[in-house]
Symmetry: C2
Subunit: 343 residues, 2 copies
C-alpha cells in the first residue's frame, strides 16, 4: 500500500486563491461565509475528493467525538445488544465508538481504559470484569475529566453515572412466581458475589422467602455457578441431595439454566412437573428449548440507548453540583413452560 497524499483544506484554498480559514468555515457550515464562495468550496472539495482529517480537527478542538466502550465480551448477546443500542443513539449525532473487551480480566480492563484515555475519548462506558475489585483505573478516568458511565456490572463505591437493572426486584419477582406456582424447595445457582449484580439477585431470592414466610434452606444455594458447565455441575450436586430441590433459579444466566435442563433430562427428571427451572437474560434460545425457559428480560438494547442519552444529557448539563444520576431499568419476568407446574 503506497502512501497517498491526501487533499487538505490548503489544497482547496490554493486552487481557489483564498485562505484555509475560509475553507474551514465553509466546511463547518459557519454562516460567516459568502454563499457563492461556499458553493465553490464545496464543489472543489468534492472534485478533489477531500476528506476532513478528524484527527487534526479533534486535536485542535480538544475533543474527539468518540465514546469508548469496555465490556467483558463483545460476542455475548447482552453486551452486543447494549453496544448496538449505544451505537444507534450516538451515530446520528456524529459520534464514533471505540470498543474494547476485557475478557473478564482485570489487567486487560486497565489496559483498555488507558488506551481510551490516550485516545482522548469524550466518554468511557464500562461494564466491569468479574475479576478484581480495585477501581483506581476508573478513578483515573474521572481525574482526566472524561465522563464515566457504568452499566450493568457497576462498581458501587465509585460515584459515577450508572445505568443498571433492578436485579434485586427482578429476582424477587421471579422467586415469588415460583413460590406461588407451588414450588417449595427452591435452589439457587448464584454468580461471583464480588459483582453487585449477583449479590442483588441473591438478595431478591432471600427477600422472596421472607415475604412468603418460607424458610431459606442453605444447602440449596450453590456458589459460583455462572456458566453452562458450572450450572450443570451445581445442578447435579443439588439433585443428588437427600432432599433435592423442586425448582432451581439459575440467577446467573440462561446458559446456566440450560445446564439445569440438560442434567434434569439426563437424570430423567421432568421439567416443569418435578423441577421448575428459571433463568436470567432472555437469551434468544430460551424460548425454543423444550420446555421453553421462564426467564428475565433485561432490555439490553434499550439499556444501551439509555446510556447514550444519559451522556448527551450530561453534556448539556453545566450544573456540576448535582449528584451523579443512577438510572434503574426494571427487568421483566417472562413466564414460559419451565415453571408451569400445574398445567
Amino acid at each position: 500500500m503506497k502512501k497517498v497524499k491526501r487533499t487538505t483544506i490548503y489544497d482547496i484554498a490554493a486552487k481557489l486563491g483564498i485562505t484555509a480559514s475560509s475553507v474551514s468555515r465553509a466546511l463547518n457550515n459557519s454562516n460567516q461565509v459568502n454563499e457563492k464562495t461556499r458553493e465553490l468550496i464545496m464543489k472543489t472539495a468534492d472534485e478533489l475528493n477531500y476528506k476532513r482529517n478528524t484527527l487534526a480537527s479533534n486535536l485542535r478542538k480538544g475533543q474527539s467525538k468518540t465514546i469508548g466502550i469496555v465490556v467483558p465480551r463483545i460476542n455475548q448477546n447482552f453486551f452486543s445488544n447494549v453496544i448496538a443500542g449505544i451505537e444507534e443513539a450516538t451515530y446520528q449525532k456524529g459520534y464514533n465508538l471505540i470498543i474494547c473487551q476485557s475478557n473478564e480480566l482485570h489487567d486487560k480492563e486497565i489496559q483498555c481504559v488507558n488506551t481510551l484515555i490516550n485516545q482522548h475519548v469524550d466518554c468511557i462506558v464500562i461494564s466491569v470484569s468479574a475479576d478484581g475489585n480495585d477501581y483506581q483505573h476508573l478513578q483515573n478516568v474521572i481525574d482526566h475529566g472524561i465522563q464515566l458511565i457504568q452499566f450493568d456490572r457497576v462498581a458501587d463505591e465509585l460515584e459515577t453515572l450508572k445505568v443498571i437493572n433492578d436485579n434485586e426486584q427482578a429476582s424477587f419477582e421471579a422467586v415469588s412466581h415460583l413460590i406461588e406456582g407451588g414450588y417449595k424447595r427452591i435452589g439457587l445457582l448464584e454468580g461471583p458475589q464480588n459483582l453487585a449484580i449477583f449479590k442483588q439477585r441473591k438478595l431478591g431470592y432471600l427477600r422472596a422467602f421472607k415475604a412468603y414466610n418460607v424458610p431459606v434452606i442453605d444447602e440449596l444455594i450453590v456458589e459460583n455457578a455462572w456458566t453452562k458447565e458450572l450450572g450443570a455441575a451445581g445442578t447435579r450436586k443439588l439433585l443428588n441431595l437427600p432432599h433435592p430441590p423442586d425448582a432451581i433459579f439459575a440467577s446467573t444466566s440462561d446458559f446456566s439454566a440450560l445446564g439445569v435442563l440438560e442434567v434434569a433430562s439426563a437424570m430423567g427428571i421432568k421439567v416443569p412437573a418435578e423441577l421448575g427451572v428459571l433463568g436470567y437474560a432472555n437469551e434468544s434460545f430460551s424460548e425454543i428449548t423444550s420446555p421453553s425457559i421462564t426467564t428475565i428480560d433485561q432490555f439490553s438494547f434499550y439499556m444501551g440507548n439509555t446510556v447514550a442519552n444519559l451522556f448527551f444529557q450530561e453534556l448539556e448539563n453545566t450544573d456540576t453540583k448535582t449528584k451523579p444520576k443512577i438510572i434503574s431499568i426494571k427487568p421483566e419476568l417472562i413466564i414460559r413452560a419451565s415453571t408451569s407446574k400445574n398445567k
Copy 2:
C-alpha cells in the same frame, strides 16, 4: 464535567529542566537517551499521571493504529464473533477498533466508510450490506491509500484482500448429506441473490443434484427467505404444495431453519422422519432445539483472526505487484438430529 488540563510532555520537560524532545524520546523507548534521564522522565511522567495524547501523536506520524470495521449488525452472532476474533489479534499489537454498523442500509454503509476515512484509520474491514450494489465508496477507500479487507459478504468486482467462506462447497456437502440420508425432494430457502454468498450456496445446492443425478425441482426453491419469519412463510408455502418436499435446506441461516421447525411442528409434520431440516451458521441455539439442527459452522472467530493476520502480513509486504490475496475458509458440516431420517 469541567475541563481538566492534562499533563503534556512539556509539563514533564519543564519540571525536569529539559526539552520536550527528550521526553518524547524517552517515552518512545528510543535508545538515543541517557539511561538516567529516561528513568527520571518515566518517574515524573508517572507522578504527573501523564497519558500520551494519541491524537497528536497520530496526526504527526500520519497513521492512526486504528482499524475500522463495518458490519450489517453488531449484535448478530456471526459478526460479533468475527469482531471478537479481530480484536484478539489486533489488540496485542496496540491497535484500536472503531466499529460501525450499516443496519443493512447502503446509505448508512457509505456514511460509515466516510467517517472511517476521516478518522484516518489504517485499514477498513467490511462485510457489505444486502442493500445496494454500488461500490464507489469502497473504491474511495483504496484511493485514499487505506487498506481494504472484505470478508464474508464481498463485492466480487472489487480487487481487494478478501476472507471468505467456501459457501459453494459447504452447501454442496450439506445437500449431498441430505441426498445420501435418503431425502428425495429437497427444498431450498435462498437469500438475496445480489449477495455472492447466497448465490454460491445456491450453486452448491444445484451441483449436489447434478452430482447425484437427481433432477432439480424448481418449485421447491423459495426466494428471499432469510429471516425466521420469511423462512416460516416459505416453509408454509412449500409444505402446502401438492408434492411437498421431504427436506428443506435453509441456506440463509439457522434462524430461517428455526422458522421451518416451528411451521413443521404446527402442522404436525415430524422432523426428521417426515421432513429433514438443515440450517446455516451454527448459531448457539441450533444444538438445543428439538430436534437439534444440522448446520454449517463458519468458524467466525477464526475468520476474524485471519482478517487481522492478513492485515499485518500486508503491512510488512512492500511488494505491491502481487495480486490481492483471497483466503477461503472451509466451513464444516455439523450433523445433528434434524437430518437423521433413519434413526
